[in-house]
């Protein structure tokens, strides 16, 4: 399971494991330990079997890979190390035959970010992926997923999440074999659970700031409050986003006194 901090990949792994347990199977949910920051790539693992599982380590060659983030869905790393004929379920707005992922794999897609924004109002895509997971893979039933969600999210939040699950159950695409069989040599490391300095966080964003230069009065409020120093000052006294540094938090848009900055959804 590949996701970003704050998208609920770890919770999703628990929900799937609980749902499998409800069906009388043996299951494990294992989060990868590291610096879990909101927005940073992370992985979580689930192991399901009919007999008792004595193995206790991370899953290195999974049969199914789930990707919770539309920008991570473009990275080959989410489809690597799969078993032959492995299944890759992507959160992406495009059809599976448009995906560039390579290998002996089958790909299905669902636009979970849109579903999450419609039902939950926030881009937390975990439950919006789970319905698609139940339909596409058939590992667990929809009812047991809903049962498990009620356990983790009681009350109104649970109902909203179940609505997201049902919607994605309907919307998921069928499996399509990958176009390319050989993976490219040049690959981006997802830096999962990594410490240290980063060079590029442009893939962290769900929304990005767009400056309306006619409205902007050049007061530099956005520049002062930007946590990442991700706004640079252009010659015409207007701000511009530094592409590799902006994480899309929205502080600049919120603090702008004349509301000249608008947060737009990243298009893929």
């Amino acid at each position: 399971m590949h996701g970003r901090g704050g998208q609920g990949a770890v919770t999703a792994s628990r929900i799937i494991a609980t749902a499998a347990y409800e069906e009388g199977k043996y299951s494990q949910a294992i989060p990868m330990y590291g610096t879990e920051r909101r927005g940073a790539p992370l992985t979580a693992y689930v192991r399901i079997d009919d007999v008792r599982v004595r193995e206790r380590e991370l899953v290195h060659t999974p049969g199914i890979s789930l990707c919770f983030d539309p920008l991570l869905s473009l990275q080959q790393a989410v489809a690597n190390d799969l078993l032959p004929n492995g299944q890759v379920l992507l959160n992406a707005p495009f059809a599976p035959d448009k995906s560039e992922l390579a290998g002996n794999i089958n790909i299905a897609t669902v636009d979970a970010t849109s579903i999450a924004l419609e039902t939950l109002g926030r881009p937390i895509t975990n439950t919006a992926m789970l319905g698609a997971f139940a339909k596409a893979t058939g590992v667990v039933k929809l009812e047991s997923i809903e049962k498990a969600i009620k356990k983790y999210f009681p009350g109104r939040l649970g109902d909203m999440n179940i609505a997201a699950v049902r919607k994605s159950y309907e919307k998921v695409s069928p499996w399509v074999p990958a176009k390319n069989k050989v993976a490219p040599k040049m690959q981006v490391d997802l830096n999962v659970g990594g410490y240290g300095t980063l060079k590029d966080v442009s893939s962290w964003r769900v929304f990005y700031p767009v400056v309306n230069e006619e409205k902007c009065i050049g007061c530099k409020t956005c520049w002062i409050f930007c946590p990442e120093a991700a706004l640079e000052w252009k010659a015409n006294n207007k701000p511009a986003m530094v592409d590799r540094a902006c994480k899309g938090c929205g502080v600049c848009a919120n603090e702008c006194p004349v509301k000249a900055i608008e947060m737009k959804r990243v298009e893929i």
Partner: protein
């Protein structure tokens, strides 16, 4: 002033601590050795960094400061960038000892009110009724039961040259305080409230809005104390805003009943009256 922070930083979206680091190190400039103890964000600036364990924050900083003095490099400052865990609880003993010896160090604390690096466990800086991973709200628990430690006053009671509180929502005030503290001889400390969108559970875009609401409600007053006596309140609105404006956007307080909000409001109002009185007398009785 150059940007001294790493771009992009390694923090979450909308991190208050990253904002605090950016503003602080912009003022302090390149000539310093930064000490860090486990806190988030750890990798914030381009300065040479000396890491240490939580308990030894104050003592290792003392070592650096004395070594610089022995080498005659008075142009280089020993600066700490610690979290609230390293100041309020685990690192308190060594820092208190360093303050008592009046070592020539500058301690910058960014207070995000819990151990956010490890998943949001309670610390001495966590306010009353806040829900943390070690204070979950349940039938018999209402979040943290104890009030926040008044650490600026505790350090002021060491009679050190300079103690100040600041907030990321008031960058001019923060930067002025850092500039003033930079060239003072002796122990000085600046506590910066840095909202944490993940731990406090609010929308990352509202980081500054929330920090500002905290100051305007009197929950995090901005003041300076010199030599443990002379007191100055830097931000004095004519009327405080209600604390509910600060508490409401944060999901860690969402279980609070009206009576509990009123209790917090009462405490804040009493404390504010005391601070106003101290400001009028220009001195604080410790």
């Amino acid at each position: 002033m150059d940007e001294m922070v790493l771009v992009p930083g390694s923090t979450c979206q909308g991190c208050g601590a990253a904002m605090a680091a950016r503003l602080t190190f912009k003022v302090l400039g390149p000539n310093l050795i930064r000490h860090g103890i486990p806190c988030c964000p750890d990798h914030v600036s381009k300065h040479p960094r000396a890491g240490s364990v939580f308990e030894a924050g104050g003592s290792s900083l003392t070592g650096t400061s004395r070594a610089l003095k022995a080498l005659g490099r008075t142009d280089i400052k020993a600066v700490a960038f610690y979290g609230d865990g390293g100041t309020y609880d685990i690192g308190f003993q060594a820092l208190s000892a360093a303050a008592e010896r009046n070592e020539n160090i500058l301690v910058i604390t960014k207070d995000n009110e819990a151990y956010m690096n490890t998943g949001g466990q309670r610390s001495g800086g966590t306010p009353k009724y806040a829900e943390t991973t070690t204070n979950p709200v349940g039938p018999k628990s209402r979040g943290k039961g104890e009030p926040k430690k008044n650490i600026p006053m505790i350090f002021a009671a060491h009679y050190v040259p300079y103690i100040a509180t600041a907030s990321v929502a008031f960058p001019e005030d923060l930067m002025q305080k850092v500039k003033y503290a930079k060239d003072i001889e002796g122990f000085r400390m600046i506590l910066i409230q840095a909202p944490c969108p993940v731990g406090w559970r609010f929308d990352p875009a509202k980081t500054i809005e929330l920090a500002r609401a905290g100051v305007q409600a009197g929950v995090w007053p901005l003041y300076e104390i010199e030599h443990g006596t002379s007191f100055k309140l830097n931000y004095k609105p004519k009327e405080l805003k209600p604390v509910s404006e600060y508490l409401k956007p944060q999901s860690r307080f969402r279980h609070m009943t009206e009576a509990e909000v009123n209790e917090v409001q009462g405490n804040v109002t009493t404390n504010w009256a005391r601070l106003l009185k101290a400001d009028e007398m220009k001195t604080v009785v410790l």
